[in-house]
Chain length 335, copies 2
DNA sequence: GCATAGAATGCACACGTTAACAATATCGTT
DNA sequence: AACGATATTGTTAACGTGTGCATTCTATGC
């Protein structure tokens, strides 16, 4: 069995209370005995039983990182960046529990003694039910990636509207006028923000958005491929396509190539996310970089701030996107 | 505060012990009272305090999934598949804690009461120290992805040697003779297995492996790119390149394109892993599919089997790779 | 030499749960 | 009616830790 403070107490000829105090830097202890106790603890390789601590202190030392889903709805790059960002600030004093919200069929199974705090990497408005439950049972909650109007401790998002706006402005500046949109999963806030950015950018140049040029995708390669095929079947082809994420951009490029056309010579393509492979496909992809890792790291920082100093952040925190210019966009041919 | 079994006991006019029995399907209880208690529990929205349970049952309800590192050494697709595979069997009764071995500077901070079991997604022989420590403190341990000679509960790997062998045989069958290798991180077992498969396949056709055709990479796109550039600088070019993973293959393709040559017309490329984007880049990548998700799912299954029925699996379990044939390989030109 | 403040330590209980054992209730058998 | 067997429930301690309060020790001042 593992060594406990009582074992140490015996060896040190003190009560277990004294040992507890020594290990927790209590001021009510003689520095001498403290030193002695710490030495014994070290020698016995003592490590506290976190379950017991949890029980009495009402702290679990666990931080939850919840995704809308862990399955195919979440892209690998996104997922990896998120976990890395979150773990970065957390790893020393907390453990990170990764879960999909859809893992639970019954939300009441989650209780406040299981998590000291939760990061919700939210990808859908349907997550609100989950977030409300967390607030109900009083778990400090930080929502990432999606603007939310609930009273969470912090809400950290990338400025997708601005990112999309810039990307489409960039296309317009390079002479494009027939610019298509391959949109994301319906209902996702990111989908709506990017679409709005697209539409507003067009409007600043008096280009009327055409329904024929807007196709719905599902944020995966396959749907990008299919959406592009559907665009290519239209009578009037676009000169550029703005895709709501990189995965769909890759699918779109494949469809364009299959139809015998070339990127960017015939059709320009812009993505969103700057996935790990965006720079390495051919042609390398011009895209909007979202600082996912930073969003998560910042979220974890805010969450710890809340847990340890009960600080909250009322205003949503926006982190800037940046347009990464690569090879998938060409100036439009003057005909 | 949350509701406890004592609250239920009061309402039901029984002792808390009886409540505990009702909730745990004990045979020592009157079905009548059991029913009554369960109803009250439901009404109060009772959820057990897992920390208290943990303390007395010596179970934490946490499974650890450890990677050699969470940072750039681990590819996003690999990471995502692994987490999904592991979570699949675990999510109902356990929580998954994701960590990098390199998060710990002091291994003794890990104790057996923190994890009911641990999956080690091992990418380097250096992980052995960690695994030995887990065995020392008696945590059920399953090692994935790397063959290990320690007495762990189970060891599940893909047959990389066989996969590499098949891939290179395939190239030979299509007429290639000057076949280069872009190798992985030095010292990783996967690197060595794939290299061996490459060399043995060549030998079966009496092709002597040439040091000039073997370049070291680091499993990331950039190193694949650089290794390929270094190959292209040689006097005699290869007709095909076998890359130890897909990321490096993507980098290699980029380097080939930059040099004005085409894939597969001038040089064929084969990868390893079948990353999510392997099918969507241009040309789509011929590669060896490793069943990462299945490895993790199987590992989780074995681990649970061990925790709940204390079963162990002495023999390593090999899961088959498959060669996925796509467009990045051409028959060699008869000159 | 003694009262006293202050420092250091210990005692006993609490956290929420399970489990060995004891106690009681119920029932059938003679 | 009395006994034993069995079914059901309660009592109590335990898991390892932290903490309010009581206790003891030490040094100081008079």
């Amino acid at each position: 069995m593992a060594v406990t403070i009582k074992d140490i107490a015996k060896l040190a000829n003190v009560s277990h209370t004294t040992v507890s105090r020594a290990l927790n830097n209590s001021p009510l202890i003689n520095p001498q005995t403290k030193k002695r106790i710490l030495e014994i603890a070290k020698e016995l390789n003592y490590t506290p039983n976190l379950n017991a601590k949890s029980l009495v202190l009402h702290r679990s030392y666990h931080i939850g990182l919840f995704f809308t889903t862990l399955s195919t709805g979440t892209s690998p790059g996104f997922f990896h960046e998120a976990v890395r960002g979150a773990n970065q600030h957390i790893k020393d004093h907390y453990d990170l529990i990764v879960k999909g919200i859809d893992d639970y069929e019954d939300l009441t199974k989650i209780t406040s003694n299981m998590f000291d705090g939760i990061l919700v990497m939210s990808q859908s408005p349907a997550d609100d039910r989950f977030i409300e439950h967390l607030l109900n049972i009083n778990i400090p909650t930080v929502v990432l990636n999606r603007l939310v109007s609930l009273p969470v401790e912090a809400n950290i998002v990338s400025d997708d509207y601005e990112g999309a706006f810039q990307a489409v402005r960039y296309l317009i500046d390079r002479g494009h006028r027939r610019i298509a949109l391959i949109s994301g999963i319906e209902g996702f806030q990111s989908t709506e923000e990017r679409k709005k950015g697209y539409i507003e950018a067009l409007k600043t140049s008096q280009i009327e958005p055409s329904p024929d040029l807007i196709k719905q995708g599902h944020y995966d390669m396959k749907s990008g491929y299919q959406a592009m095929r559907s665009l290519l079947a239209e009578s009037l082809l676009p000169t550029a396509v703005f895709c709501s994420n990189d995965d769909m951009a890759v699918g779109a490029i494949k469809a364009i190539h299959e139809s015998g056309m070339r990127v960017p010579d015939d059709i320009s393509v812009v993505g969103f996310d700057d996935n790990v492979f965006a720079g390495f496909i051919t042609p390398s992809l011009t895209t909007v970089r979202r600082p996912i890792e930073k969003i998560c790291a910042e979220g974890a920082r805010c969450l710890l701030e809340n847990i340890e100093n009960s600080q909250s952040f009322k205003q949503p925190i926006y982190l800037r996107t940046t347009l990464v210019k690569r090879e998938s966009v060409a100036d439009v041919r003057s005909e």
